[in-house]
Symmetry: C2
DNA sequence: GAGGAATATGCGAATCTTCGCATATAATAA
DNA sequence: TTATTATATGCGAAGATTCGCATATTCCTC
């Protein structure tokens, strides 16, 4: 694969690589929201949130719709939901394995 | 979702957010490889590659197996393959849409 | 044990990211 | 028009990432 393609993928991953932006995307899974909605739900500075939204916009992960005073954000591609979902599964699996490992260590510890 | 969980996910995405590391993971989809294999296939400085591998190790995305002189790397969890695969699909879809948009613009341009 | 191959680590410079704060823009209401 | 609400942008400081280069470490062979 040419490096330019890897570069593109890396940019997408990079855009997802922040807790706040993950939170934003997870909220968007259920439909469009305005910036004030995010501020309300996430309890962040408006300006800070706006910067994170700018990152997601730059990579075209979200799209916007202006309605009078407000701007509605939504996911550009439903595939992004699948991606987040897969990451959720990955996360749970890793945590599960870590817990199992700890259990095992503890059992071995007790029996020694 | 608590912020600590989002933080964990962000760290995984962050680990994937570099062309070289994406290249490494894509090579690993077909089985384990040594560092020299990577150097050979990717044409990078050994030290640089090693640093990228350290990032993937730190997040436990890859695991290592020492065999004499060499270190074999492999993916810890096959779910990572699915994740990369989904990103591949996402990528192709985005590119497809962009091309379609350009086509459309050109068509509109010609007819004006 | 000396030398060589394979891999990892330490360090400093350049670059990128994130944040807070101030300010800009745009639409609406008064 | 002025004020107000909703959102975006500019800027500088602090921190993180990446790279190249030098150097460790580890294992193997002689």
């Amino acid at each position: 694969m040419p490096d330019s393609l890897r570069h593109f993928k890396a940019e997408i991953f990079q855009a997802l690589a922040h807790p706040t932006r993950i939170a934003v995307l997870e909220q968007l899974q259920h439909g469009e929201l305005t910036v004030s909605n995010f501020v309300e739900h996430l309890g962040l500075e408006q300006a800070n949130l706006s910067q994170h939204l700018a990152v997601l916009r730059a990579r075209q992960i979200v799209v916007t719709r202006k309605a009078g005073n407000q701007v509605f954000y939504s996911l550009r591609d439903p595939l992004m939901i699948d991606l987040l979902d897969l990451m959720r599964r990955y996360f749970h699996k890793q945590v599960g394995e870590s817990v199992a490992l700890l259990d095992e260590m503890e059992r071995a510890d007790r029996s020694s």
